[in-house]
Chain length 113, copies 2
DNA sequence: CTTTCTATATGGCATTACCTAGTAGCTATC
DNA sequence: GATAGCTACTAGGTAATGCCATATAGAAAG
Protein backbone atom coordinates (compact mmCIF):
# COMPACT_ATOMS: atom_id res chain seq x y z
CA UNK A 1 0.00 0.00 0.00
CA UNK A 2 2.87 2.32 0.71
CA UNK A 3 4.71 0.82 -2.21
CA UNK A 4 2.50 2.12 -4.96
CA UNK A 5 2.62 5.58 -3.40
CA UNK A 6 6.26 5.91 -4.32
CA UNK A 7 5.69 4.58 -7.77
CA UNK A 8 3.00 7.19 -8.36
CA UNK A 9 5.39 10.07 -7.82
CA UNK A 10 5.74 11.99 -11.00
CA UNK A 11 3.34 9.69 -12.78
CA UNK A 12 0.06 11.15 -11.57
CA UNK A 13 0.96 14.59 -12.82
CA UNK A 14 1.65 13.23 -16.27
CA UNK A 15 -1.56 11.26 -16.34
CA UNK A 16 -3.61 14.29 -15.40
CA UNK A 17 -1.92 16.35 -18.10
CA UNK A 18 -2.74 13.64 -20.61
CA UNK A 19 -6.38 13.35 -19.56
CA UNK A 20 -6.91 17.08 -19.88
CA UNK A 21 -5.00 17.15 -23.12
CA UNK A 22 -7.43 14.64 -24.60
CA UNK A 23 -10.45 16.70 -23.67
CA UNK A 24 -11.16 19.88 -21.72
CA UNK A 25 -12.47 18.62 -18.41
CA UNK A 26 -12.83 19.35 -14.69
CA UNK A 27 -11.34 17.97 -11.49
CA UNK A 28 -14.14 15.72 -10.42
CA UNK A 29 -14.23 14.05 -13.83
CA UNK A 30 -10.43 13.71 -13.97
CA UNK A 31 -10.68 11.91 -10.69
CA UNK A 32 -13.29 9.53 -12.03
CA UNK A 33 -11.16 8.75 -15.06
CA UNK A 34 -8.16 7.93 -12.90
CA UNK A 35 -10.24 5.59 -10.78
CA UNK A 36 -11.62 4.01 -13.90
CA UNK A 37 -8.10 3.44 -15.18
CA UNK A 38 -7.37 1.45 -12.03
CA UNK A 39 -5.98 4.06 -9.64
CA UNK A 40 -8.85 3.14 -7.39
CA UNK A 41 -7.69 4.93 -4.25
CA UNK A 42 -7.33 8.32 -5.94
CA UNK A 43 -9.83 10.90 -4.69
CA UNK A 44 -10.54 14.60 -5.03
CA UNK A 45 -8.17 15.48 -2.21
CA UNK A 46 -5.31 14.12 -4.27
CA UNK A 47 -6.35 15.51 -7.64
CA UNK A 48 -7.30 19.08 -6.75
CA UNK A 49 -3.96 20.03 -5.23
CA UNK A 50 -2.20 18.75 -8.33
CA UNK A 51 -4.55 20.71 -10.58
CA UNK A 52 -3.88 23.89 -8.65
CA UNK A 53 -0.17 23.25 -8.75
CA UNK A 54 -0.21 22.74 -12.50
CA UNK A 55 -2.26 25.89 -12.96
CA UNK A 56 0.24 27.88 -10.90
CA UNK A 57 3.08 26.53 -13.00
CA UNK A 58 1.29 27.86 -16.05
CA UNK A 59 0.63 24.47 -17.59
CA UNK A 60 -3.15 24.72 -17.30
CA UNK A 61 -5.81 27.35 -17.89
CA UNK A 62 -9.08 27.22 -15.99
CA UNK A 63 -12.56 28.45 -16.74
CA UNK A 64 -15.69 28.03 -14.63
CA UNK A 65 -18.91 26.86 -16.18
CA UNK A 66 -22.22 25.87 -14.63
CA UNK A 67 -23.03 22.25 -14.02
CA UNK A 68 -26.51 20.80 -14.42
CA UNK A 69 -26.06 18.80 -11.24
CA UNK A 70 -24.06 20.79 -8.73
CA UNK A 71 -21.77 23.73 -8.16
CA UNK A 72 -19.86 25.28 -11.04
CA UNK A 73 -17.33 23.08 -12.73
CA UNK A 74 -13.80 24.33 -13.27
CA UNK A 75 -12.79 23.25 -16.75
CA UNK A 76 -9.10 22.98 -17.52
CA UNK A 77 -7.16 22.95 -20.73
CA UNK A 78 -3.45 22.75 -21.49
CA UNK A 79 -1.39 25.80 -22.30
CA UNK A 80 1.46 25.55 -24.77
CA UNK A 81 3.81 24.99 -21.86
CA UNK A 82 1.48 22.28 -20.65
CA UNK A 83 1.66 20.56 -24.01
CA UNK A 84 5.42 20.66 -23.89
CA UNK A 85 5.44 19.18 -20.42
CA UNK A 86 3.07 16.45 -21.48
CA UNK A 87 5.37 15.53 -24.34
CA UNK A 88 8.33 15.46 -22.01
CA UNK A 89 6.43 13.22 -19.66
CA UNK A 90 5.69 10.78 -22.45
CA UNK A 91 9.36 10.77 -23.37
CA UNK A 92 10.54 10.14 -19.82
CA UNK A 93 7.86 7.58 -19.15
CA UNK A 94 8.74 5.64 -22.28
CA UNK A 95 12.41 5.76 -21.43
CA UNK A 96 11.93 4.62 -17.87
CA UNK A 97 9.58 1.85 -18.93
CA UNK A 98 12.07 0.63 -21.50
CA UNK A 99 14.92 0.61 -19.02
CA UNK A 100 13.07 -1.23 -16.32
CA UNK A 101 11.69 -3.76 -18.75
CA UNK A 102 15.14 -4.31 -20.17
CA UNK A 103 16.45 -5.25 -16.76
CA UNK A 104 13.64 -7.72 -16.23
CA UNK A 105 13.84 -9.18 -19.70
CA UNK A 106 17.48 -10.05 -19.28
CA UNK A 107 16.28 -12.93 -17.12
CA UNK A 108 14.41 -14.47 -20.03
CA UNK A 109 17.32 -14.25 -22.47
CA UNK A 110 19.62 -15.67 -19.80
CA UNK A 111 17.39 -18.68 -19.38
CA UNK A 112 17.39 -19.27 -23.13
CA UNK A 113 21.17 -19.07 -23.34
CA UNK B 1 16.38 16.39 -14.82
CA UNK B 2 14.27 16.74 -11.74
CA UNK B 3 11.45 15.07 -13.61
CA UNK B 4 12.92 11.63 -13.85
CA UNK B 5 13.85 11.77 -10.18
CA UNK B 6 10.22 11.54 -9.19
CA UNK B 7 9.55 8.82 -11.69
CA UNK B 8 12.39 6.75 -10.29
CA UNK B 9 10.88 6.59 -6.83
CA UNK B 10 10.31 3.03 -5.84
CA UNK B 11 11.53 1.85 -9.21
CA UNK B 12 15.25 1.86 -8.54
CA UNK B 13 14.85 -0.34 -5.50
CA UNK B 14 12.90 -2.88 -7.52
CA UNK B 15 15.46 -2.88 -10.31
CA UNK B 16 18.29 -3.51 -7.89
CA UNK B 17 16.38 -6.39 -6.30
CA UNK B 18 15.84 -7.85 -9.74
CA UNK B 19 19.47 -7.53 -10.79
CA UNK B 20 20.68 -9.28 -7.66
CA UNK B 21 17.96 -11.88 -7.98
CA UNK B 22 19.26 -12.80 -11.41
CA UNK B 23 22.78 -13.32 -10.15
CA UNK B 24 24.70 -12.82 -6.93
CA UNK B 25 26.61 -9.61 -7.47
CA UNK B 26 28.18 -6.57 -5.82
CA UNK B 27 27.42 -2.86 -5.70
CA UNK B 28 29.88 -1.62 -8.25
CA UNK B 29 28.60 -4.14 -10.80
CA UNK B 30 24.96 -3.37 -10.01
CA UNK B 31 25.76 0.20 -10.77
CA UNK B 32 27.31 -0.70 -14.09
CA UNK B 33 24.27 -2.74 -15.06
CA UNK B 34 21.92 0.12 -14.28
CA UNK B 35 23.99 2.47 -16.40
CA UNK B 36 24.03 -0.09 -19.17
CA UNK B 37 20.24 -0.33 -19.00
CA UNK B 38 20.06 3.40 -19.67
CA UNK B 39 19.99 4.91 -16.19
CA UNK B 40 23.11 6.72 -17.19
CA UNK B 41 23.31 9.18 -14.32
CA UNK B 42 23.27 6.47 -11.64
CA UNK B 43 26.50 6.20 -9.70
CA UNK B 44 27.89 4.42 -6.64
CA UNK B 45 26.71 7.17 -4.33
CA UNK B 46 23.16 6.36 -5.30
CA UNK B 47 23.41 2.58 -5.33
CA UNK B 48 25.31 1.88 -2.11
CA UNK B 49 22.85 3.62 0.20
CA UNK B 50 20.02 1.61 -1.35
CA UNK B 51 21.98 -1.62 -0.94
CA UNK B 52 22.63 -0.88 2.70
CA UNK B 53 19.00 0.02 3.24
CA UNK B 54 17.82 -3.21 1.66
CA UNK B 55 20.27 -5.21 3.73
CA UNK B 56 18.97 -3.56 6.91
CA UNK B 57 15.41 -4.40 5.94
CA UNK B 58 16.45 -8.02 5.70
CA UNK B 59 15.90 -8.33 1.97
CA UNK B 60 19.56 -8.91 1.15
CA UNK B 61 22.42 -10.94 2.57
CA UNK B 62 26.01 -9.84 2.02
CA UNK B 63 29.31 -11.69 1.89
CA UNK B 64 32.75 -10.25 1.17
CA UNK B 65 35.05 -11.91 -1.32
CA UNK B 66 38.38 -10.79 -2.79
CA UNK B 67 38.51 -9.08 -6.14
CA UNK B 68 41.26 -9.64 -8.68
CA UNK B 69 41.40 -5.91 -9.37
CA UNK B 70 40.84 -3.99 -6.17
CA UNK B 71 39.52 -4.09 -2.65
CA UNK B 72 37.16 -6.84 -1.51
CA UNK B 73 33.80 -7.03 -3.20
CA UNK B 74 30.61 -7.29 -1.16
CA UNK B 75 28.42 -9.84 -2.88
CA UNK B 76 24.69 -9.69 -2.26
CA UNK B 77 21.93 -12.22 -2.67
CA UNK B 78 18.20 -12.08 -1.95
CA UNK B 79 16.67 -13.50 1.19
CA UNK B 80 13.24 -15.11 1.10
CA UNK B 81 11.78 -11.76 2.13
CA UNK B 82 13.73 -10.15 -0.66
CA UNK B 83 12.22 -12.56 -3.16
CA UNK B 84 8.75 -11.72 -1.92
CA UNK B 85 9.44 -8.02 -2.23
CA UNK B 86 10.74 -8.49 -5.71
CA UNK B 87 7.56 -10.29 -6.70
CA UNK B 88 5.46 -7.53 -5.20
CA UNK B 89 7.44 -4.98 -7.12
CA UNK B 90 6.79 -6.80 -10.36
CA UNK B 91 3.09 -6.86 -9.55
CA UNK B 92 2.90 -3.16 -8.73
CA UNK B 93 5.05 -2.17 -11.65
CA UNK B 94 2.92 -4.15 -14.07
CA UNK B 95 -0.24 -2.65 -12.63
CA UNK B 96 1.02 0.90 -12.75
CA UNK B 97 2.33 0.46 -16.26
CA UNK B 98 -1.01 -0.90 -17.40
CA UNK B 99 -2.94 1.95 -15.85
CA UNK B 100 -0.78 4.69 -17.28
CA UNK B 101 -0.72 3.09 -20.70
CA UNK B 102 -4.49 2.72 -20.61
CA UNK B 103 -4.87 6.45 -20.08
CA UNK B 104 -2.59 7.22 -23.00
CA UNK B 105 -4.07 4.61 -25.28
CA UNK B 106 -7.53 6.09 -24.93
CA UNK B 107 -6.34 8.81 -27.24
CA UNK B 108 -5.66 6.37 -30.02
CA UNK B 109 -9.03 4.64 -29.76
CA UNK B 110 -10.72 8.05 -29.67
CA UNK B 111 -9.02 9.04 -32.88
CA UNK B 112 -10.15 5.85 -34.55
CA UNK B 113 -13.74 6.27 -33.45
C1' DC C 1 55.30 7.74 -6.49
C1' DT C 2 51.53 9.31 -8.98
C1' DT C 3 47.65 8.26 -11.44
C1' DT C 4 43.87 5.44 -12.58
C1' DC C 5 40.60 2.00 -12.00
C1' DT C 6 38.19 -0.83 -8.86
C1' DA C 7 35.38 -0.92 -4.71
C1' DT C 8 32.83 0.49 -0.41
C1' DA C 9 30.84 3.75 2.93
C1' DT C 10 28.00 7.59 4.78
C1' DG C 11 25.78 11.99 6.57
C1' DG C 12 22.64 14.85 5.32
C1' DC C 13 19.48 17.05 2.36
C1' DA C 14 15.82 17.97 -0.32
C1' DT C 15 11.60 17.99 -1.05
C1' DT C 16 8.02 17.08 -2.88
C1' DA C 17 4.01 15.50 -3.49
C1' DC C 18 0.92 12.02 -1.89
C1' DC C 19 -2.72 11.39 1.48
C1' DT C 20 -6.18 12.22 5.22
C1' DA C 21 -9.79 14.59 6.83
C1' DG C 22 -12.73 18.03 6.84
C1' DT C 23 -15.59 22.11 4.93
C1' DA C 24 -18.88 23.87 1.94
C1' DG C 25 -22.18 24.76 -1.76
C1' DC C 26 -25.44 23.41 -5.58
C1' DT C 27 -29.16 20.29 -7.56
C1' DA C 28 -32.52 16.82 -7.35
C1' DT C 29 -35.39 13.57 -5.19
C1' DC C 30 -38.21 11.68 -1.73
C1' DG D 1 -36.54 19.42 4.82
C1' DA D 2 -33.53 15.50 4.52
C1' DT D 3 -30.78 12.79 2.03
C1' DA D 4 -27.81 11.85 -1.69
C1' DG D 5 -24.84 12.85 -5.47
C1' DC D 6 -22.05 16.31 -7.77
C1' DT D 7 -18.27 19.79 -7.36
C1' DA D 8 -14.45 22.44 -5.40
C1' DC D 9 -11.01 23.59 -1.91
C1' DT D 10 -7.51 23.51 2.12
C1' DA D 11 -4.38 22.41 6.17
C1' DG D 12 -1.28 19.81 7.75
C1' DG D 13 1.39 15.58 8.15
C1' DT D 14 4.95 12.75 6.72
C1' DA D 15 7.96 9.74 5.17
C1' DA D 16 10.38 7.68 1.93
C1' DT D 17 14.12 7.83 -0.88
C1' DG D 18 16.81 9.49 -4.57
C1' DC D 19 20.86 12.29 -4.72
C1' DC D 20 25.39 14.57 -3.62
C1' DA D 21 29.88 15.31 -1.65
C1' DT D 22 33.39 13.25 0.31
C1' DA D 23 36.47 9.87 2.32
C1' DT D 24 38.91 5.56 2.13
C1' DA D 25 41.71 1.94 0.10
C1' DG D 26 43.60 -2.03 -2.78
C1' DA D 27 45.82 -3.05 -7.26
C1' DA D 28 47.99 -2.11 -11.61
C1' DA D 29 50.45 0.84 -14.68
C1' DG D 30 53.40 4.40 -16.24
Amino acid sequence: MAKQTQMLKGVLEGCILEIISQEETYGYAVCEQLVQAGFSHINEGIVYPILIRLEKKGWLLAEKRPSPYGPKRKYYRLTEMGERERNEFILHWTETKGRVDQIFERRISDENA
